[in-house]
Each structure stands twice: as C-alpha cells, then as structure tokens.
C-alpha cells in the first residue's frame, strides 16, 4: 500500500512537471481543430453534439435537484452586502467547463445566467458564472467569435461572468494556485490551505520552480460545478509517463468544492458501443453522423471504471488534507444514466442503457 501511494505521488509529480502537454493528445487536438470551421454549423459534423446539449442541462438540473452545492462563504456574504432585500439571488453557482471546444455547452450555460443580478427566481442551472477552458487555440477563437453573435452572451463575457481560457487543465490549476496564494491573506476562505504556499513564486510556476505543486499544494479556487462533457474519452493515456484519465480526473476533482458536482458524459467501451459509435456513427454518409476518426474505441470508459477512478481521485485529492483516505468517500454520491440517439427523434435519456454507449455521469464531493 505504501509503495502504491508513493508511486501515485510520483506519477502525479511527473504529471505536473510535464505540464501543458499532459492530458492533451496532439492527435486529438489536430482532429478537433480541423473540425473547427464547421463547429457551429447546425447541419455540420457536430450536429449530433449540438442535439445532445439540451440533455446536459436536463442532467445538471437533475443533479441539482438531488443535492444543491451549499452556498459558499463569498457568495452569501456578497449577497448580504449587495442588497438589503432579504431574498437573495438563488443563482450563485460557479461553473467550470473543461474541454469546452467551440463552446457548445459553455455558451448555452452562459445563456442560462440571469441577466439581472437582482433576480430572485432560480434558473434551472442556478449559474452565476462560468469559466470554460480548452487547449486548442483554434477552437477557443471559434468559441469567442461565436459568443459575440449573441448580445446576451457577449455582455456576460464583457462583465466577466463568462470567460474563455485557452489553456489546459494543468495550466488552470497552476494559475489558480498561484493566484490563490497571492490572495492568501485577504481571502479568509483559502487560509486553511495556504500555509505551505507562501514560498511559491507567482510568476511562471511551471518552468522555473522545482516540484512544489505536490499534493500538499495550496487548494486552488474551487468551483461548484465542474463539467467534463465528451472529454474523458479523448484523454491521452501514457502509463509510462504516468498520464492517465485517472490523473486527469483527480485534477478535475481538486477543483470541485465540497458539496459540489463533477458532471460529465462519455461512452462505454462495450460491444454495442463499438458497433454504434465506430461502425455506424462514423460510417460514410448518409449513415454516419459523426466525422471519421472522432472516437477511438479503446479510449472509451465504462461506468464502473469511471466510478473507480473517481473514488481513487477523491482519495488522492484529499491527500495532505485533514480528512483522508476512504473517509472522503463518505459523503460522495455517484450518478449515472444512459443516453441513446434515435435518428429522427434525437437524444433520449434512457436509464439502464449506460453500457450501450453514451452515458451521463456525475459525482458529488462529500461536504
């Protein structure tokens, strides 16, 4: 057990050092960048993805109805100072969308942010802000350009409630860690974990510093909801370098506040999914609905594998924090529901169909 844990730490360290290229595969990057020009074409190669998007909102709403992330200290304090009206704005959740691509989900989520900050009616997503990241410069540009076409989304972008960042998850964690260490003294919420971070230089942490962002690194600013739609199956797995979907998930979970959700969707690695996603969906026109080479079946993830990784990730993420090991799993919730594409009817949530192919999953971090 001890050796395993040491190995795990080691993996993690190498992951951190490899930095901006860790979880992102060069092949995947070029594949999706090539699709960029047609990303927002409703009849284009990403049509199936566009059609799935409303279901992501449904699934998020179902997670929130099960357990709402508790109000954060900052949200409640700002609500109490900003207005004297007793009913606060119920839409306080901070979202992070990892691997946002051309912004299909991120933009739709931004649209769900209420335009009036004084509203007292809860929106289905309860979103207050969203940060969306993607490693592809081309796609981020597409996303930003498209966001300008909608005055409401554009206003959110200008107001900072909505933000696109062209970076990898690892970059984001690094920048958040450094910024949170900078803000360590004024921000009371980060004081619990910032003790060891004072030595961290604020500039270019990735290149010049030795390995300091170890598991005991300062907890970065966290999000109520982190989303990972159709991403995990595109993560490069290089065991020799210690890079795996597992380490990627661990990083994602680090960014989730206690009581918050990590929500994603992916494809199961089963015979029906191979048939549907590789043989049929990527078949030549008119049968296929997905561009050839979008998926690699070997990278698909089964629900039970994912659940295992998530549990492992939660434990790893808890390393160095007071509550550790299996104890962190106490308050966790796991949720999984299959989704099926019926030509002519579109996507339908079908509980129990997880192993046929596409499915939504969510994990709630214990408080």
């Amino acid at each position: 057990m001890a050796t395993r844990r040491a190995l795990r730490t080691l993996n993690h360290l190498t992951t951190r050092r490899a930095h901006s290229t860790t979880s992102v595969s060069a092949n995947e990057l070029s594949h999706f960048s090539a699709l960029a020009s047609s990303w927002w074409d409703p009849q284009g190669p990403s049509r199936v993805l566009h059609l799935m998007n409303p279901l992501r909102h449904d699934f998020i709403a179902s997670c929130l109805s099960e357990a709402l992330p508790p109000p954060s200290a900052s949200a409640s304090s700002s609500a109490s100072t900003s207005s004297t009206i007793p009913a606060p704005n119920p839409n306080t959740l901070r979202y992070l969308d990892i691997g946002c691509g051309g912004g299909i989900f991120a933009e739709s989520l931004a649209r769900s942010i209420s335009a009036s900050p004084t509203t007292t009616t809860a929106t289905p997503t309860r979103a207050a802000s969203i940060t969306a990241i993607d490693p592809s410069t081309t796609l981020i540009k597409i996303a930003r350009d498209h966001a300008r076409l909608d005055p409401m989304v554009d206003a959110h972008l200008r107001a900072g409630r909505f933000e696109y960042k062209n970076c990898t998850l690892e970059d984001l964690i690094a920048s958040l860690s450094s910024s949170s260490s900078q803000q360590a003294s004024p921000s009371p919420s980060s004081s619990s974990s910032s003790s060891s971070s004072s030595s961290l230089p604020s500039s270019s942490p990735s290149i010049s510093t030795p390995i300091v962002t170890a598991p005991a690194a300062p907890a970065p600013q966290k999000y109520d909801i982190v989303t990972l739609f159709e991403v995990i199956e595109h993560i490069e797995s290089t065991p020799s370098a210690g890079i795996s979907p597992q380490s990627f998930l661990t990083d994602c979970l680090r960014l989730v506040r206690p009581g918050g959700w990590l929500i994603g969707s992916t494809i199961a690695r089963t015979f029906p999914s191979w048939l549907v996603n590789q043989v049929i969906a990527e078949a030549p026109w008119p049968i296929g609905v997905v561009p050839r080479g979008t998926h690699e079946w070997q990278k698909f993830v089964n629900p039970d594998e994912l659940e295992g990784w998530v549990q492992e990730g939660l434990m790893r993420g808890a390393d160095g924090v007071a509550k550790a090991g299996a104890a962190v799993l106490d308050g966790m919730r796991w949720k999984c529901v299959g989704v099926v594409y019926v030509p002519g009817l579109g996507w339908k949530l079908v509980p129990g169909s997880e192993s046929w192919g596409n499915y939504f999953w969510a994990v709630r971090k214990g408080i």
């Binding site: 409703p42 998007n53 909608d150």
Partner: protein, 518 residues
C-alpha cells in the same frame, strides 16, 4: 411596398448553404442603412397582431419559462379599437371561426378563454355533411364515443374573430407591461440585417426592423429594434417571409367564399333537439364548392359559401330577400335548379323587404322545392333562413399557399404567413393556433435549456412538429375541394359517395377521422 420588397429580398441561397450562410448575411448587412444608435434588442418580435400573433404573445406571457422574455408585437391596425370592440347580442360579425376542442383547450391553458365572451360563442355537437349531387350523407358527432349519461361532446365552437382578438388582448394586458412592447398603428418599414457594433456584439446575422407610425407624415427617425427571434404572423403576403427569402408554392382556387350573418326561423322542437346544435354543409359540385351554415347564439348562423367568382358576384348583388331565398335553395334544390336560379335576371331596383310583391327568387324556390325530393328526417336540413344582417354579405378569394419552410435562422413563420388553405373544413385558424402552441413550447424548451431562441437548432423542433401536420390538413382540404368539384353522376361522384357512405357506416373509421380533425 415595392421598395420594401427590394430592400428586404435577400439573394437566393440554397437551404443547406443558408443554414451555414452567415457570410452571405454579413455581406448583405453592408447594404443596410447605417444605424447611429444600436437597436433595442428583443428576444421575440412578432409582426402581425391577428389571432396567431396575439396568441403567440399570450402563450409566451402565460408560461413561467417564457414570461420574462422581452417581447414585442408590431401591428398596422389600431389594437386599441380591437380591444374595445363590442356588438349587441342581436348582431354578429361575419368573420367567424370554428375552433376545434384542441384550440379551445390551448386557449384555456394560456388563460385566454376566460376573457372570451362565451355568450357570443356557440359550441356545436353535430355536423351534417352531404353531397348535393348524389345525396350521400355523413353525420359527425361524438355520440358513438360518449356515454348516454354525459353531454354530447363538442365538435367545434363558433367564435367571432373579434371576440377572440379582444380576449387575447385582455389576457396580454392582464400579464402586465414588464418586458412587453406593443407597437400598435405601426408599420414595419424595412427589415435588414444588423451590423457589428464596435466594442459590442456582432448583430450582422440579426434581423433589425425599422418601425414607423402607420398614419404619420412626421419625419421622426424610425425606431430600430433587433430580434433574437422574428416571428412572421403577418399574413399571406408576409414581409417577414420575404425578408427570410422563403418561397411559397400554391395556387388560387378561382373561387370566392361568400360570407354573411343570417338569422334562422325558430326551431321546430319536434325535429330539432334544443341541446344539440348542428352545423350543415352541402357540397354543390356544379356550383364550385360547398355551402355551410354554422350555428351562432340566439338562432343566428354564419354562412360560408364557396363558389365561382361569377356566382359570388351575383349573390352579393342580390337584394336581401333574394339572397335569403338563394341560401335556402342551395340547401334544398338540385344542381340544375340552382344553376337556373343563379342566372335569373336580378330585379332592376332592390325590392324593399316590406314590399308585398313576391320576390322572383322566393317564387322560384317555393314551387321548385315542391318538386324536389327532400330528406326523410327534417333535421337533416338546416332551419329556414329568415333574415340577413345588414352589411355582412362579403366575399374573399380562396387560395392555397404553403411556405417551403417555416423557419430560417432567427425567423419563424406562423399562421397564414406559413400556410393558407381552403376553408371547407374550417381549419385555417386552428392550424394557426396549433403553430403558435408548438412555437411557444419550442421557445419555452429553448429558454430552459440555454438554447438561443432564434437558432435554427431550436426552431427546427417547431418546423418538425408543424410542417407535416399542416401540409396534411391543407392537402386533405385541397383533395376534398377537387373531389367535390366534379359535376354530374360520373365515376368520381359515385366513388366519393361510396367513400362517404363507408365512412359514415363504419364507426371505427369515422372516429379516427374525427380525432384526426381535432
């Protein structure tokens, strides 16, 4: 109008290119008039304040998912007048629609029906339809599906359009004026694509409407509004449809619908049930279309007679007594008799109703009906028409139109802008309300799922739901019109009568048809 056409017409782009065709629109934007100030942005702008446009607005205001959307409606007519419309209980407008139960339940759902003056609306429970050439007959009622202990179910409810419009306006007013702009007495002087606002959003794919007061020569600059979703509820010559460059196909029937508000003789309680109201429709193949008498309250009825333009002109020019005689004749006499009567010389000077001399048309009817076999049950014929309300005899051309698509980026068409059908089944307004219900639902789904209301991915749901349905009903009416325009007793007449008899005698088929019509 011509200049509007030119300024609004976009270069033709094939549908698939159009969907991804933002560059084409951007290029077009350079032609648009430069706007000094950025336009006011609305979520939904509806052009046209008829039943469809107002229905959409009322539906959006009624749903919690869409009540907060910023909406606008533009109408050339004075909506204040429509709001304060009123007639006494003895007079009825000649513009009447037969609302199906599903239309009524939609209006109830969105809280409009409470504002309808139901004393002026007449539900009917039975429909008598027969072929004037062969006598083949079909009776539509729900008696087969209702138990004897419940009231007979309604086939449809006759409602004056003005009554409905007034109710829609009251319902909209009741929803408050937050996020709502009604531009009454206002014309859309142009629609063009917007432009990129420096340090702001890029509106180059957004429709921008220039609004001007309808009757005004003041040179104040037109108001500019931008629409996330522009809804064309602006009728058969829809400017919105032209802006979107959506083509329509169709034809003119070369028929006119003659309408009038009539009063009927007191019902004979022996043959007519007091609780069951009946609509009557007789197909007159040799005269160009059916005549229908639809019940209104207080023993009044609304007439719709589809016939050739020549016959329509003849009928409209008849003095009241002759007109009444022609309507009564049309439900009772043979095609030959009717053709003769429609060619009789009209009296040189209109005889007054009080004149004791017998009207020549009345005279003809009286002796011809004695020599014409009549149905065994008197209730198979409508009661005699005894009066025509002054100023209600009018006619309108019958046309068939169907837009090639109902949606385009940031554009949706509803009602007559999308489809105009033959009125023989009384489905026109019902299709419009069906469109509106579906579009309001689509908008609500989009609003709760972070979708852009004007995005084609949002709108294709609406189009998918309505296009085939409307085409089917419009097509069925067209087929019926053609089938019942073949005169004589040839094979077509035999076949259609055989079909009618089969449908009438096989309850299963009839039930299926009636549910389909709902």
């Amino acid at each position: 109008m011509r200049s509007l056409v030119r300024s609004a017409a976009r270069p033709y782009v094939c549908p698939s290119c159009q969907l991804g065709g933002l560059p084409a629109r951007r290029r077009f934007a350079s032609h648009s008039t430069p706007t000094s100030a950025s336009p006011e942005i609305y979520d939904v702008v509806c052009v046209g304040g008829g039943p469809a446009g107002l229905g959409l607005l009322a539906a959006l205001r009624a749903s919690s998912a869409t009540s907060k959307l910023k909406v606008a409606l533009v109408e050339t007519q004075d909506l204040q007048k429509a709001r304060s419309w009123s007639l006494d209980a003895r007079h009825y407008s000649n513009r009447v629609s037969s609302l199906t139960p599903s239309s009524v339940s939609f209006l109830q759902r969105i809280g409009v029906w409470d504002h309808v003056d139901t004393a002026r609306a007449q539900p009917y429970q039975e429909m008598q339809v027969w072929d004037g050439e062969t006598g083949s007959r079909i009776t539509f009622d729900w008696s087969m599906e209702s138990s004897p202990f419940e009231d007979m179910r309604t086939v449809a409810t006759m409602t004056e359009n003005s009554n409905l419009v007034r109710a829609l306006l009251s319902r909209i007013a009741e929803s408050g004026d937050e996020n709502l702009s009604i531009f009454s007495n206002t014309t859309v002087s142009s629609i063009s694509n917007g432009s990129e606002i420096p340090d702001g959003p890029d509106l180059s794919a957004w429709p921008i409407l220039s609004l001007a007061p309808t009757n005004s020569s003041t040179s104040q600059p037109p108001k500019q509004i931008a629409a996330r979703l522009l809804v064309g509820a602006d009728g058969i010559n829809s400017p919105v449809r032209r802006f979107a460059d959506i083509s329509t196909s169709g034809w003119d029937y070369d028929r006119h619908g003659v309408v009038a508000t009539l009063s009927l003789s007191d019902l004979d309680p022996v043959h007519y049930s007091a609780s069951i109201k009946t609509a009557y429709q007789r197909f007159l193949p040799a005269l160009g279309g059916p005549i229908a008498l639809l019940p209104l309250p207080n023993n009044n009825a609304s007439l719709v007679w589809s016939t050739t333009p020549a016959n329509a002109a003849y009928l409209k020019a008849l003095p009241p007594r002759a007109f009444i005689a022609m309507v009564n004749a049309a439900f009772r006499l043979s095609m030959t008799d009717l053709n003769y009567m429609l060619r009789m010389e009209r009296p040189a000077s209109p005889t007054t109703a009080s004149s004791p001399a017998l009207d020549p048309h009345e005279d003809e009817l009286t002796w011809r009906v004695q020599h014409t076999p009549q149905p065994r049950k008197p209730s198979q014929l409508p009661p005699l028409v005894t009066g025509v309300q002054e100023g209600t005899v009018a006619s309108f051309p019958l046309r068939f139109r169907h837009a090639s698509t109902y949606v385009s980026p940031r554009i949706a068409l509803v009602g007559d802008a999308a489809h105009v059908i033959h009125p023989l089944a009384g489905q026109g307004l019902n299709l419009g309300l069906g469109d509106v219900a579906a579009l309001a639902e689509t908008v609500a789904y989009a609003a709760t799922h972070g979708m852009d209301l004007g995005d084609i991915l949002t709108l294709e749901r609406y189009a998918g739901e309505r296009f085939a349905t409307n085409a089917k009903i419009g097509g069925a009416c067209d087929v019926l019109h053609k089938l019942y325009n073949v005169p004589g007793n040839g094979p077509v007449a035999w076949a259609r009568s055989f079909g009618l008899d089969v449908i009438d005698s096989v309850p299963f088929v009839k039930g299926l048809l009636m549910r389909g019509a709902q």
